[in-house]
């Protein structure tokens, strides 16, 4: 209970700040609508917004799951061989250094405007943090544990599932947390590549029409999706790695 006081307090503070900013300063409504205007807008257009939000959430989840399902094995490949590391990694870095919308024409022409190109774009935006965190996690195995595994003649698969993977989980989950937040933004960008529904689509037209109360309603929906997903991962963490210091010692951050 008490734990929720502070985030709630900052939330109230934030809304208050926003209200003051929007009402008592000369920031005009086409830049920053008042919180009440946004709340009204959400209330009025709720079913419409929900429909669009659902579409975006769906893409987000698909892209996110694809990131996990491909990202972790990719990390494993990179960890398992130096050659693969050198051969794959530059391409992964490459895939991160340009904005995905820049390739929209190619994507649209090659993959059309269906669900999969959108999932692909989301994946491209979200998978990298998982790969890097997994690589760090999977590599962080001390000689002693490697020797233990080797002495039991663990196969590569066993080494992964019984040793490396659980050991890497805290780090992987860190990557997943970043990834889940990025998936949301990835889905929005994916909808920019080509969609006539979804929060990304709404964002574009709200922007083009200077419809700031819609714009902010969309941002609020995006934030809610992102925060729900993020804290779902954090919640899962408690069950997946209760043994790890990040979880165990959370309540006693310092002994001094």
């Amino acid at each position: 209970m008490k734990g929720f006081l502070y985030p709630f307090a900052t939330f109230v503070l934030f809304i208050l700040g926003w209200h003051v900013l929007a009402t008592y300063t000369d920031i005009p409504p086409y830049l920053l609508p008042t919180p009440t205007a946004v709340v009204e807008r959400i209330y009025e257009d709720f079913p419409f917004l929900m429909r669009n939000a659902w579409s975006t959430t769906y893409i987000t989840l698909c892209g996110f799951l694809l990131s996990v399902v491909i990202g972790i094995p990719l990390a494993l490949a990179i960890v398992s061989s130096n050659l693969l590391d050198r051969a794959i990694m530059p391409w992964l870095v490459l895939s991160q250094t340009f904005p995905k919308v820049a390739l929209a024409p190619l994507i649209v022409v090659w993959f059309g405007l269906g669900l999969w190109p959108k999932v692909l774009v989301t994946f491209l935006v979200a998978f990298f943090p998982i790969v890097i965190s997994s690589v760090v996690g999977l590599r962080s195995m001390e000689r002693e544990m490697l020797e233990l595994a080797a002495s039991m003649r663990a196969s590569r698969l066993q080494l992964f599932w019984k040793f490396r993977m659980p050991l890497a989980l805290p780090s992987i989950l860190g990557g997943i947390k970043v990834s889940v937040a990025f998936s949301v933004v990835g889905a929005v960008i994916a909808e920019w590549v080509g969609a006539n529904v979804g929060l990304g689509y709404l964002l574009l037209s709200a922007n083009a029409n200077l419809d700031t109360s819609l714009l902010f309603s969309v941002l609020i929906f995006l934030t809610v999706i992102g925060i729900v997903l993020y804290y779902s991962v954090e919640f899962a963490e408690r069950f997946l790695i209760p043994w790890h210091a990040t979880q165990r010692l959370k309540e006693t951050p310092s002994l001094t």
């Binding site: 020797e147 002495s151 066993q158």
Partner: protein, 252 residues
């Protein structure tokens, strides 16, 4: 008895540091060999070489007549540190050995319970390693090394963190297990009495570079018991090791 382990002219170098120098040692099948030597003389390194966890710099190690290239099958190792998986409970850490070796857990269930009971960890089966004391962790590692009843047992100071009483009990247990199953055991220990009490032969090593100073036979009949430690052959062996190790032997 045939030769199980054959170490021929083995040296091990870590960069400029010569850890082991020209080690020659043969361990017969079913033999109990103890290795003693001062801290840092290369005992753990030698054990790693036998286990196939490290490559030699020179010379070769043969197990069962084959050159060691990697970890052999049917070996149990108790490392110097417990190396428990923090996400697994006591029982799960022990049965890890079974899982990885694809042995049927059900079949080993009673043996597992018996071992846990033997090392005095009953009641702690479902605890995670961080809830255990140092000595308890070491005992879990011991169970893990024994659970699959390996033909070759390599133990690196397995009783180092245990109190005198527990240690004595487990010494007797180890002797019993050895006599029943006729495993080959290589035991590293800092306790000269433990070495002489348990082993057929005691290998004494000298430090930096690690060399074998002498190999001492312990011609004391089995089963040995703590009450029979007054035996002159036993005392003679102890004294010889002590002299070689430069220790008065009273505080060990």
């Amino acid at each position: 008895m045939s030769e199980l382990i054959n170490i021929k002219g083995v040296s091990k170098r870590f960069d400029e540091l010569l850890a082991l120098d020209n080690i020659n040692l043969t361990v017969r099948d079913g033999e109990f060999v103890a290795i003693v030597g001062s801290s840092g003389c290369g005992k753990s390194t030698l054990l790693r070489l036998i286990a196939g966890l490290l490559p030699t710099s020179e010379g070769i190690v043969e197990v069962n007549g084959h050159k060691v290239k990697g970890p052999a099958d049917d070996v149990g190792i108790a490392f110097q540190t417990p190396v428990l998986l923090p996400w697994r409970s006591v029982v799960e850490n022990v049965s890890l050995q079974l899982e990885v070796r694809k042995l049927p857990k059900a079949k080993y269930e009673t043996e597992l319970r018996r071992l846990i009971e033997l090392v005095g960890l009953n009641g702690f089966e479902d605890r995670k390693p961080y809830e255990l004391s140092g000595g308890m962790q070491q005992r879990v590692a011991l169970c893990r090394a024994l659970i699959h009843n390996p033909a070759l047992l390599l133990m690196d100071e397995p009783f180092g963190a245990l109190d005198a009483m527990t240690r004595e009990q487990l010494n007797l247990e180890l002797q019993r297990i050895w006599m029943e199953t006729r495993k080959t055991i290589v035991l590293i220990t800092h306790s000269i009495i433990e070495a002489v009490f348990l082993a057929d032969r005691v290998v004494v090593m000298s430090p930096r570079p690690g060399r074998i100073t002498k190999i001492i036979d312990v011609p004391v009949p089995r089963p040995r018991s703590f009450s029979g430690l007054g035996d002159p052959a036993f005392q003679a062996a102890c004294d010889e090791v002590r002299t070689l190790m430069n220790a008065s032997g009273l505080t060990e």
